[in-house]
Amino acid sequence: MSDAEDKRPYRWGMVIDLDRCTGCEACVVACHAENNIRISGEAEAAQGRAINWIRIERYWEGEYPNVSAKFMPVLCQHCDNAPCEPVCPVYASYHTPDGLNAQVYNRCIGVRYCGNNCPYVARQFNWFDPHWDPPLEEQLNPDVSVRQNGIMEKCTFCVQRIRKAKEQAESEGRRVRDGEIVPACVQTCPTSALVFGDRNDPNSRVSILAQGDRGFHLLESLGTDPAITYLKRLS
């Protein structure tokens, strides 16, 4: 039986192992380079306007001197029941058949309701036109559109890489193999804390890891049904 007959759609998902994350922020840098994320200066960052599709939230636990830092990478959770989608008046925020939570840049008019309604504050807004100091504008990724002033953007799970792998697989008459798609953050993570894959494939690494007893979803009680599973040892 060939893979080509498998008609199940893909259901992309990610696992983030908090026991492995060191908070090094390599994923943040890789995401910036891959996705043409604008460079926000110091002043904009101080205003809280620095755009990051993935960020490392740092929480302190305990009282000095017995204090430890906890790191949690937060990106768009690609919720199956996404609060950002129904509130958009123009269908700029919508759900792809693969379970991605997509943002249609051309359609967005910037009412920003989606930004308010995302409990993870994963959505980022272009307050101005983007700008890159030379020579950085020479290294933009040609596969990713540059977003203009006045629209929302956020993590796409590196949809350009997903597309490429899917087209390749389709031309060879098979399903995408596990590990064939590697988003930039996953590719760069030095401790392999991030894993990406198809949740519809029970044998994919992502499915196996997510079923472990360390798994939880962020703000699970809201019922947003995120595609990202966090792993954390309870101690």
């Binding site: 509130v87 269908y91 009412v111 308010n116 101005f128």
Partner: protein
Amino acid sequence: MATRDSVWNEMPAINRDLLAPLLTISARYLALVAGLATLVAAGAGVWLYQIETGIGQTNMHPPVFWSSYIASFVYWIGVSHSGTFISGVLRLTKAEWRRPITRIAELMTIISVMIAALCVFFHLGRVWRWYYLLPYPNQRQIWPDFRSPLMWDATAIFTYATASTIYLYLPLIPDFALARDRVGGWRQRLYALLCLGWKGSQQEWETLNTAIRIVTPLIVMVMVSVHSIVGWDFGMSLVPGWHTSIIAPYFVVGAVHSGLGMVAIGLYVVRRTYRLEGYIRSEHFDKLGKLLVVTTLTLAYLYFADQLTVWYGKKPDEMAILHSLVAGPYAVPFWTMIVLIYVGPLVLLTAPSFRAWPAGMMLMGVGINVGMYVERALIIVPPLTHPRLTYQWSDYFPAWSELVILAGALAMAVLLYVLLAKFVPLISIWEEKEGRLHAASR
């Protein structure tokens, strides 16, 4: 006690008094128009600058994606409820004291709906693509998403603006006919067009009264639904502090509260400017004051019910917001608001002597409106600055550009009113006459 005959003798004086504003233009009037136009131009200039450079000219940043423009939108929609509430509800209940007030209030409705819509345009990130919100058959066959509360809102406001315009226009027809017969020049032709050839026959009066009787209950229902839907813009979200079922009735009552306050200001200014003390009497301020006591108590009750539930439940997401209001960074505006919209009105308006004092009622209207504006801002900002993931906690205060644009919008509202005062009789002339005849024959 006036007899029917003596009332008939008053008619020429009523015509003269109430049409006078249409026939005179003073130097002070022109200076006021020029001053307001300058403010509007300043606001328009800053808005163009914001469109050209980016919405980043505001102080918004994640997670505060909505702020002063949306607060102003909610505020202006609230003010627009004055006209429909006063004239709709009072017409339905056949309250005689409504007669000199309805037109003044209905004009406020039309103008503030327009200003509210303008605030949405200030807010849009790509305002030059605003027409994506229209359900027009475009080439790609993409429609707006009617699951979004914002689309409900756009529909509701369009309905409200249309209905209020009809509601303002119907009782204006006999007055336009009167103006046609007494105002010369180019305006005569315009009035002749607008009064639809009104002759004043018995059949015309019956048709007009039937039309008003049909539209009045409809517009009251539209009014309640419009501000409920504005409330649901917030209520339908997951944001702690917004996601509450009480928000729709709370918004409706809050809207009427600020609207009544605005009517008190309007009554005072119109009465003073055009010396209409014989028409707008202290009795009217007294009745308005009593209505304001009702809205104060209702609003306070709803607010208390909401906050008590939050406080007793002690859910951390919502407690963070309540704490920031009561004793945190928003304590000063919060307690100012409590005094201006609850405590002040309750203490002063329950005193009959205060209600009979027009200047005091005007100041009370100003206080209530300032308080309600702060209240709108406090509904929007503190919940947004306290998202569930505490790492993202933030703060917000409007930028100078936001303040200039919004001041320009306020100036535009006043300017439109000032201009309309020279075109529309501010007191419904035929209804005033009808009221005096009713009183005389009772």
